[in-house]
Amino acid sequence: MSLIQMHNLRKDFTVRVKAGRFRREKRIVPAVNGVNLTFERGEMAGYIGPNGAGKSTTLKMLTGVLTPSSGDVRVCGLQPVPQRTKLALQIGVVFGQRSQLWWDLPLRDSFSLLRHIYRVPADAHAGRLKRCRELLDLDDFMDTPVRQLSLGQRMRGELTAALLHGPSVLFLDEPTIGLDVVSKQAVRSFLAELGQGGDLTLVLTTHDLADIERLCRRLVVIDHGSVVHDGTIEALHARYGSHRRLVVDLDVPLPEGFAVPGAELLSVEADRHRATFELVTTQVGAVVSELTALRDLSVVEPDIEDVVAKLYRA
């Protein structure tokens, strides 16, 4: 049985909007609009979509803090809302814009409090905490009250807090939001290392597609509450026909009318001394063998941002 199952999952929010001076009208916002997804044990999946697509709403329903309007959800075999406290023992959650730590307490105290809340045996707790401290460099600020931590430091604390009870599923809602390059990399490589065991299931939302490229084999794209893509990153590239590009620098200008079947000339620059081809159905070699006086070349992989932007606009 799949670890996470969603069947026709819906969430409609009712918002009241002003209509005229005194009248207020009810309007239904379908935040999640019939989502069917399953995630298997050990899967690392990216869950992306434009702002307001319904990502956070889905995660809230999966973690039991928001009641679905209709449809079925199962996580670890449990119904998230009715069995929320039971489920809490099996999942770890980080909502990037929220803190689960205690504002007034040092990280160290928050962690030991979590041990009692989740009733984790002392040795297991100590082992996990030690790993997190090493991988996330927590030692410098273990005794700082959480309110004095920088965003990046706090986020590392949040990740640790979400893992100390050894959850089998980790839900992360924008864990890298607002982090600098170094902190982002620290978080990513930490998660990558966690994923190596093959036992942890991860559902990650983010607006930084580099997170996904680094961590997730599977990519689910949601827009206006509906899933618009579910598959690998390569499948997404294939679907949108994005291809590698070849950029060549030449010692002599590119002849007028130069053409290679299967490669599309996109642009010429620098007095025709530089040309860019899109490799639609052919390979680098086919183009290069036709060129005379080749000085230098580079191959550019298709950019996931471009593909995703196409998808969002569609």
């Binding site: 809230k60 009641t67 929220r98 803190s99 009733r119 009250p145 290392e193």
Partner: protein, 286 residues
């Protein structure tokens, strides 16, 4: 990544009670710790309570003197002075006013973090609140009382059962107060802003709990109605009456039992309200 991905290990069924107690204790201790990080606020608060203690004490004693020898509400002057000074301390222990943590968290959406824990939210707020009350006993209750004892003639209880009853009474008063504060704050689930109910609570609780004047000053029928039909006297007046031995032992005991009934009912009500709120919960977060 050994350790980290090990599944939650289930604790033995027999250890359930022990574990619950440990969890409750750890949460309470965290409440104590959190309040002990704000030393200056504690000192300033204790100072303010002391100043108001002098004011209230002089006013009440003047009222007694004006009554011309009769004992209003059945209190002797030393009992009244004790009523004021112990009341000044207890005010912070039961935390009648100024607690908006829950409604703030509902409004900001931080309540999601509380809901994601394997602890019922009412317990998650009750346990730390008892820790907070413990902290207040040490640093907000004792200092004003010590000052009051220096300047006024205070009543010393004579019955052996009074002190344990007083301790129990404080416990029930704190639990009852937390439950009411929880209910008042929980209106934020529906109103998005608990300021209205909070103001109403602040205005009424001072009078109805016996802070503004001892409720025994009221006509008997009114006092008895308040006691039985509302939880307010149990928040402040009851522990004070128990300590100054206003009533004979059986009635002392009955008053504390009444507090226990009210505290329990209010907690149950808080659990029900929380459940209702969760069903329609719209968590505000990105």
């Amino acid at each position: 990544m050994d350790g980290l991905d090990a599944r939650v290990r289930w604790i033995s069924a027999g250890g359930w009670v022990r574990n619950s107690v440990t969890t409750f204790g750890a949460l309470s201790w965290s409440g104590f710790r959190r309040y002990s990080t704000y030393r200056q606020a504690t000192i300033a608060g204790a100072f303010t309570n002391t100043v108001f203690g002098f004011l209230r004490c002089y006013v009440l004693l003047a009222v007694v003197a004006g009554a011309g020898g009769s004992a209003p509400g059945g209190y002797r002057p030393d009992q009244l002075a004790t009523f004021v000074w112990v009341g000044q301390g207890l005010l912070t222990v039961v935390a009648l006013w100024g607690w908006t943590e829950l409604s703030d968290r509902i409004r900001s959406g931080d309540i999601t973090a509380d809901l994601l824990r394997p602890v019922h939210p009412v317990i998650g707020f009750l346990a730390p609140d008892l820790g907070r009350a413990g902290h207040a006993m040490l640093f907000r209750f004792l200092p004003p009382l010590a000052v009051g004892a220096l300047f006024f003639d205070l009543y010393v209880p004579g019955r052996p059962c009074t002190i344990p009853l007083f301790a129990l009474s404080i416990l029930f008063a704190t639990v009852g107060s937390l439950a009411i504060r929880y209910l008042v704050n929980a209106t934020a689930y529906w109103l998005h802003d608990a300021r209205g109910p909070m103001t109403l609570w602040t205005l009424s609780s001072g009078v109805l709990a016996g802070l503004s004047f001892p409720l025994r000053f009221l006509p008997d029928w009114l006092a008895i109605t308040l006691w039985i039909a509302t939880p307010f006297p149990g928040l402040l007046q009851t522990p004070l009456d128990v300590l100054i031995e206003r009533d004979p032992p059986p009635r002392q005991l009955a008053l504390v039992a009444l507090q226990a009934v009210w505290a329990t009912s209010l907690l149950v009500l808080a659990v029900l309200v929380q459940r209702r709120a969760e069903r329609r919960l719209v968590a505000h977060c990105g």
